[in-house]
């Protein structure tokens, strides 16, 4: 019962963040929304594991949290510098 409430809340919030990811207006809004969506996915996987009585799903949630973190950092850096290596402009902002 409680798990269904949490799952519905997560799904409603997912719709809201997807709205922001589609609406934009800047690319950074979209990255922010996708990052929040990833956190929600982690919560949804954990809740679904309890809902279906299979807590092994938590391994997936853990891995998804890792991938979400690295993915957001990588996309931020890619948007900032247009490539993943050292910046070409010669400024000091090499690492995020």
């Amino acid at each position: 019962m409680m798990f269904s409430v949490a799952a519905i809340a997560v799904l409603v919030t997912m719709v809201l963040t997807i709205y922001r990811a589609i609406k934009g207006p800047t690319v950074y809004d979209r990255i922010l929304a996708v990052n929040a969506f990833g956190t929600l996915t982690v919560v949804l996987i954990a809740v679904y594991g309890f809902l279906s009585g299979r807590p092994e799903f938590l391994d997936l949630a853990l891995v998804y949290a890792l991938i979400n973190f690295i993915g957001t950092i990588a996309v931020s850096k890619y948007v900032e510098f247009s490539h993943m290596g050292r910046p070409s402009g010669g400024d000091e902002l090499g690492d995020i």
């Binding site: 809340a9 997560v10 409603v12 809201l16 922001r20 207006p25 922010l32 954990a46 973190f69 931020s76």
Partner: protein, 117 residues
């Protein structure tokens, strides 16, 4: 005792669900990108945290709760880092926060939204 643990966990899950939805509303309603970061912050800290801690009380003391604690700690450690990276990328990309009373040495140009989509 079991009743008490159940009540605590249900309360936490309920509070977390409410904060998740409020954070989502914030991500949609707040006016510019730097303000929306605060809405995402609600989702990342109290929303996800309270739901997952509520699940810990449901699980009891075993390997499942240890994994849940790991997930909570991981989200709490990584969420500020991604926010810093994103804020830095946005500042470098020319987005400036929309402020009411700008201090003299913080540049506020362009009204907040750049055309980079």
């Amino acid at each position: 005792m079991e009743m008490l643990l159940d009540a605590i966990s249900w309360l936490l899950i309920l509070v977390g669900s409410v904060f998740l939805v409020v954070g989502g509303i914030g991500v949609v309603r707040l006016p510019d990108m730097f303000a929306r970061m605060h809405g995402a912050g609600i989702i990342d800290t109290l929303g996800a945290g309270a739901v997952l801690i509520g699940l810990i009380f449901q699980a009891g003391l075993n390997i499942v709760s240890v994994k849940l604690v790991l997930i909570v700690v991981f989200i709490l450690f990584t969420s500020p880092t991604t926010t810093h990276a994103l804020a830095r990328a946005a500042l470098n990309g020319g987005v400036r926060p929309r402020v009411e009373a700008p201090p003299e040495d913080a540049p506020t140009g362009g009204g907040g939204e750049s055309s980079k989509t």
